[in-house]
């Protein structure tokens, strides 16, 4: 139990500081740690927990809470959530003022321009790995592609797309 809590704390603490460009960039590493390294759950379970976090309001990084809960109950949920939030928040707190002072330094734009392709690549990896885990039948693939197209070309609230998929799934249509 203590061992699990220590692992959760160190995994999510590290992910917190590596999540450049937001929480989705660390999904592949989270999946690798949780599924392949620690064997806490299957890839499909991981995808299901991610879906629950997506279907909840607020930051989608709360998938950490669900993973922690699954691994070590309430204590696990608390450790994983704090692990993901505290390190990056302390950093944000520390540099928030500096940022305003550095507003016009040229390197700031260079850093932003240099990091953004990495962010795109990491989120692309997250999309591929998650799609792999959720594509268990041809109809799953169809749902994924349809949602990708609709979400890209329209301005529907994403919640409606998740709700539509839930209805189709519940009635056994997909």
């Amino acid at each position: 139990m203590i061992q699990h809590l220590l692992s959760l704390g160190s995994i999510f603490g590290e992910l917190s500081l590596l999540a450049v460009g937001g929480g989705n960039t660390v999904l592949p590493e989270m999946q690798r740690q949780v599924v392949s390294v620690h064997h806490w759950m299957s890839g499909a379970d991981f995808a299901a927990l991610f879906a629950l976090a997506q279907a909840s309001p607020g930051p989608n990084m709360l998938v950490a809470t669900l993973i922690g809960w699954r691994v070590a109950g309430l204590a696990g949920a608390i450790v994983a959530t704090l692990g993901l939030i505290v390190p990056s928040s302390v950093l944000s707190y520390a540099v928030g003022d500096l940022w305003t002072r550095w507003r016009d330094r040229p390197w700031r734009r260079r850093v932003q321009a240099g990091i953004s392709p990495v962010t795109v690549g990491l989120i692309m990896a997250a999309a591929i790995l998650l799609s792999e885990a959720t594509s268990r039948s041809a109809s799953d693939v169809a749902v994924t592609l349809a949602v990708a197209v609709v979400a890209t070309t329209t301005r529907f609230n994403p919640l409606w797309l998740l709700a539509a998929a839930a209805v189709l799934g519940a009635f056994g249509i997909v």
Partner: protein, 188 residues
């Protein structure tokens, strides 16, 4: 929820928000932001409460995206600190996260209890497939600015391949691609 007020300038802003106001403001973001909280954050901070001007919000957003961690979480920390120091950060964070944590825990508990029920399993599988679609769509949107910049595309492809095909740890992948990105960057 109030109708959106027209954007006001810095001059008309009143005293900085209290910790209580930071809590309730971010609470409203936490409960409304399904699948993407940032538009809601702008609505509350700029349009409804006029805590920041549009330009100030954009600068704060750039910082939140630049720093590691969840964008909206960083935004809450920095804005809370700007107005009320560490207490403000804690108030904004607590407001942002309290309701979503309760809701996600309830959903998790329901799923844990009924995941072997075939209807629940089918429903969650369909929602999970849709969630993959949302992430795919996000990739399509954020990759668009890279088109026409072969160096940036190469860095993105390398980062993606490192994780997907080589199964490298994230730290290693970033240790290679971040310096490469900085080296090849062409700031606009």
């Amino acid at each position: 929820m109030n109708a959106a007020a027209p954007e006001r300038g810095a001059a008309s802003r009143a005293a900085p928000p209290t910790c209580g106001a930071l809590f309730t403001g971010f609470f409203s973001i936490g409960i409304s932001g399904f699948g993407g909280v940032l538009p809601w954050a702008r609505r509350m901070i700029v349009e409804q409460r006029a805590w920041l001007t549009g330009a100030e919000f954009t600068d704060l957003l750039a910082l939140s995206q630049f720093l590691p961690g969840g964008n909206i979480i960083n935004l809450a920390v920095v804005l809370g600190a700007r107005f009320r120091g560490w207490r403000g950060s804690l108030a904004a964070l607590a407001g942002l996260l309290s309701a979503p944590l309760v809701i996600v825990s309830i959903l998790g508990a329901i799923y844990g209890r009924f995941q072997h029920d075939p209807v629940v399993a089918r429903t969650i599988a369909a929602v999970a497939a849709a969630a993959s679609g949302l992430i795919l769509s996000m990739v399509l949107k954020i990759a668009r600015p890279l088109l026409g910049d072969p160096r940036a595309i190469a860095v993105a492809a390398l980062a993606c391949a490192g994780l997907v095909f080589a199964h490298l740890p994230l730290l290693l992948t970033m240790a290679v691609t971040v310096p490469l990105g900085l080296l090849l960057a062409r700031p606009k």
